[in-house]
Amino acid sequence: MIILKVKQKGHLVDIPGVASFRTPAEVDISNAEINLVIFSLKNCGIDDFEITTKEEKKKTIKKDKTELSKKEKMKEVMMEERFNRLERMIANLSQKSASEKNIPEEQITNKLNDLEVLSKRILEKEIVRQIVYTDKDKRDDPIVEELYEEAFIPKIDISEMKMKGSSTETIGTLDDVDESADALSKLKG
């Protein structure tokens, strides 16, 4: 479970895939895109947030999202076996090469080439599953930061602008705001 904690108060946040919430809040964002979460938060002006994962909830990940079909499973087992076999052979060869000087270099090179081909096939078939991060340090991935692009949003720079005078006027006075705020607060629970 991926948890978003926002401590900054007073924001109403809309993140695609997550129900709208008002900050401060702690919400489950497992179903949301992490870059969309960061994008939405920054758009709301929130820069004080924390994204963590809860390890104890790791087992609740739905099976259908991670389980492979039987056919794929078989393929994966076969690949794994071949991989292990090659690894063992190379290990044996290197042990032998330390004790016996007559092992042909060609044999070692061939086995290494086999290993390389097999690795490529594994990668091409995308058998490597998506890494599920389970601790905070690993989620601090700078790549996520790079995905956020705000160049298209107009920059506000008033540092070199000066205002002379004030264009504001008083047009009225407040009444009953405390009473109404109490009533509204009670109504909204």
Binding site: G10, D157, T168, T170, V177, D178
Partner: protein
């Protein structure tokens, strides 16, 4: 970007009372014609006209601007702001620049967002060493124009963030419900007749049942009248604000002004009729709720200011069969400050809940 809890830790060390003292709630009504702000630590509601007038710094002697409010930009730019901009523009018969158009941030004005930021900063007032929470108004999506309010909403969020204010967007018409319908337990129909849009919300016990806006409001009246009378729209606005009455005699002698007032009356009538038709249609098609009680209709916004506006609305309403029972049609206590007042109430209610 991950957090560090240092700031939170420092706050936690402070005594609770002191922390509460520094909390300020704000309601900011971001209207096309006016920006209005209400703060919890003062009884006054402030306004500024949401217009500016770019002038060439080299063509104008800055000493002539001694009593004028303006913003100086980095590239020799000079913008007269607020009511002064409006008066100057009328004097020279030229249109003012407006950061907003038809209720939303305008894409036409390059400098608009920076100038607007300064105007809002000035309007909200002192925020140093204070924890400021602000609800700012946004319109509902218009039903008669293909326009989105997302950009508008996000730009204001950015402006408020830039000046260090915590913010939440709230529908403009719902703000009127918060301001004016406490005695009806926040049930009612609120219509904000602004400059750029007419915003409507249907609320039942504080829950928004439906909201929508139409792109016809004060500017539409002014533009249509200006087109019919061959005048610049802000001159028509000026006449409207000075002389417009929707009942009784209008004490104007100049024939041209009389013609403009006549045009304004017809367009006010047409606007009210158009809005009522839209409310009925939206209620019938979109509101999936049985309202047994009679509910009030509350009218606010600058366009509802002319004397007789509410009576004209009432008499137009009588000509229709409504899908809801109306207890009364009334004008907000102060049509210009109702939205800011309601936004402040909402901010205070939210802060109380925390």
């Amino acid at each position: 970007m991950m957090t560090e809890d240092k700031v939170e830790d420092v706050k936690a060390e402070q005594p609770k009372k002191k922390k509460d003292k520094n909390v300020v709630c704000v309601g900011l009504d971001c209207g096309t014609m006016h920006l209005v702000a209400a703060r919890s630590d003062t009884n006054e509601v402030k306004v500024t006209r949401n217009v500016f007038l770019p002038v060439d710094k080299e063509e104008i002697d800055i000493t002539n601007l001694a009593s004028i409010n303006y913003v100086e930009g980095p590239d020799n730019e000079l913008f007269i702001i607020g009511s002064d901009a409006f008066e100057f523009a009328n004097l020279f018969g030229q249109p003012v620049s407006r950061p907003m158009e038809k209720g939303l941030i305008s894409a036409k004005e390059d400098a608009a967002i920076d100038v607007l930021t300064l105007m809002i900063q000035d309007l909200i007032g002192e925020t140093k060493d204070k924890e400021v929470y602000c609800s700012y108004s946004i319109p509902a999506e218009p039903i008669d124009e293909e326009r989105s309010v997302i950009y508008h909403e996000r730009v204001f969020a950015r402006i408020l963030n830039n000046i260090g204010v915590n913010h939440t967007s709230v529908n403009e018409a719902m703000a009127i419900i918060y301001s004016e319908c406490a005695k009806e337990n926040f049930s009612g129909i609120a219509i904000s007749f602004g400059a750029g849009m007419a915003n409507c919300a249907i609320s039942y016990k504080g829950i928004e049942a439906h909201r929508f806006s139409t792109a016809r409001a004060g500017d539409w009246i002014d533009n249509m009248t200006a087109a019919s009378s061959g005048m610049v729209a802000n001159r028509v606005t000026n006449i409207k604000e000075k002389y417009m009455k929707l009942r009784g005699e209008v004490e104007v002698k100049a024939r041209k002004t009389k013609r403009v007032l006549e045009g304004l009356f017809y367009h006010h009538e047409a606007l009210i009729d158009y809005t009522i038709k839209k409310i009925i249609k939206e209620f019938e098609e979109k509101v999936d709720m049985e309202v047994d009680e009679k509910i009030p209709v509350v009218i606010a916004g600058g366009t509802s200011l002319p004397e007789g506006f509410v009576n004209l609305f009432k008499s137009s309403l009588e000509g229709y069969e409504l899908p809801f029972d109306v207890s009364e049609v009334r004008r907000a206590k102060n049509p210009l400050t109702a939205v800011a007042n309601g936004l402040l109430i909402r901010t205070m209610a939210d802060v109380k809940k925390q």
